[in-house]
């Protein structure tokens, strides 16, 4: 039921997640932020069991902070991805966390953004664009076609909205509201909270 989308642009990473939190057929919350900041320049987008997601993300955030205080330097996105994957991989064989993640981060050293796909089995892959949850079914082909390297922010935002429109249109379970965040050299910023309503187009047809 969760939808997470993310891709890398020119010196930024843009990520979006739906803002629904539900339990079976019931929507518990419609302003749930699934894009959790790990530190000033990294976001962990979580999908799956809400409790597991909270617990796991907390664990990662605290350990990344501990590293930063101890060593007076921040971890790179790659390191955090590896660390997160390691935690998931050891957990799957004992007490699995039912979370699938997208980790997006901007590294000041390389001046580049990067995106990682991590899932509950302990897989990890560096990707240019990707999605988790049901969005992955619809958004993959759009991004395959339209994603280019070094997209400007405006173009990137347009592409993201294209993806989200598709998710809203095709997913039978109502996911209208999405939160879009962006990471660049200045840190994490909330771009927009979009409400997509494709039903509006049918107004003319209804009158007939």
């Amino acid at each position: 039921m969760d939808s997470l989308v993310g891709f890398v642009g020119k010196n930024y990473v843009i990520m979006a997640g739906d803002t629904n939190a539900g339990r079976s057929i019931m929507r518990l919350k419609d302003d749930f932020d699934k894009l959790v900041p790990i530190d000033s320049h990294k976001i962990l987008a979580k999908s799956g069991e809400i409790g597991d997601g909270n617990q796991f993300c907390n664990l990662i955030i605290r350990n990344v902070s501990l590293y930063r205080i101890r060593n007076e330097t921040e971890l790179t996105t790659k390191s955090v991805a590896h660390y997160t994957r390691r935690q998931l991989a050891t957990a799957i064989r004992k007490n699995p966390y039912s979370v699938n993640l997208l980790l997006g981060g901007y590294d000041k050293k390389d001046q580049k953004g990067s995106l990682y796909y991590l899932d509950y089995l302990g897989s990890s892959k560096k990707i240019n664009y990707g999605a988790q949850g049901y969005a992955a079914l619809f958004v993959g082909s759009i991004l395959d076609r339209f994603w280019k390297e070094d997209l400007d922010f405006e173009d990137g935002l347009e592409l993201m909205k294209k993806c989200l429109r598709e998710v809203e249109k095709r997913l039978i379970i109502g996911t209208r509201c999405f939160l879009i965040k962006m990471i660049n050299s200045d840190g994490i910023s909330v771009v927009e909270k979009v409400m997509i309503n494709s039903e509006k187009k049918n107004e003319i047809e209804e009158e007939n």
């Binding site: 907390n58 664990l59 605290r62 350990n63 902070s65 501990l66 205080i69 101890r70 007076e72």
Partner: protein
């Protein structure tokens, strides 16, 4: 097998000799000063003179425990590393469980508790470290705490630990006033150290902790400026006399 005997035991006249010896070790360490202003906290340390071939940047006495808490110490550096590490872990652990940043008194109590544990455990010796911990409490007031090898802790307006503890404390008692602004607090800290530190301002580190801001280490040139102003003032006073 050899863990069956405690090292810190009472003497016939009711003292814990090992703890008192630990305090002696602290008195051998380089001086550290903490001063609380109206809305600022300043830590000053005497840096141990480094050998010619040694990289002075690797010798750091003022450390961050969390984003909003700093500490310094006097005594055995290696022992302090253990306490600092435990404190850092505890800060993150607290945030993990309670989602709130840890309180200054809470972490001080934790460090003091750890120091006390090592005075009442089998096979271990006390930490040869006294610490000064600074941070802002939940109400936003600056707080300065001191711990020592016995596990005692208390809150101070200004305090000093290490080898020049006595003269610096006397100086602070004479010159401390309540509600000092940042400039006055920094000057008092530098002044208290300059008298006792050998080879002057090059061997002093000053750190300023402002509310909701990361710790700032005062630059070399600024410290040198302030020290110069003191010396000129001193000369003027002597000439007047």
């Amino acid at each position: 097998m050899s863990y069956d005997r405690a090292i810190t035991v009472f003497s016939p006249d009711g003292h814990l000799i090992q703890v008192e010896y630990a305090l002696e070790a602290v008195k051998k360490g380089t001086t550290a000063v903490g001063v609380k202003g109206k809305d600022v906290l300043v830590l000053g340390v005497e840096k141990k003179s480094t050998a010619k071939l040694q990289d002075p940047r690797t010798v750091r006495k003022i450390v961050q425990i969390d984003d909003h808490i700093c500490m310094t110490f006097a005594g055995l550096t290696a022992d302090s590393r253990i306490l600092i590490n435990k404190a850092r872990f505890e800060c993150q652990s607290y945030k993990y469980y309670y989602e709130d940043p840890i309180g200054v008194e809470y972490i001080t109590r934790y460090i003091a508790k750890t120091q006390q544990k090592y005075t009442q455990s089998v096979g271990v010796r006390p930490f040869g470290v006294s610490t000064l911990i600074v941070g802002y409490d939940s109400k936003g007031f600056p707080k300065l705490y001191q711990t020592d090898p016995s596990g005692n802790f208390s809150s101070w307006k200004a305090s000093c630990i290490g080898r020049s503890e006595k003269p610096v404390k006397e100086f602070l008692e004479k010159n401390y006033v309540d509600e000092m602004d940042e400039e006055q607090t920094v000057r008092l800290t530098i002044q208290s150290l300059v008298e006792v530190v050998e080879s002057g301002e090059k061997n002093i580190d000053i750190a300023i902790m402002r509310k909701n801001k990361p710790i700032e280490f005062l630059g070399r040139t600024r410290i040198a400026e302030i020290v110069k102003e003191f010396e000129e003032e001193k000369k003027r006073k002597e000439e007047e006399d």
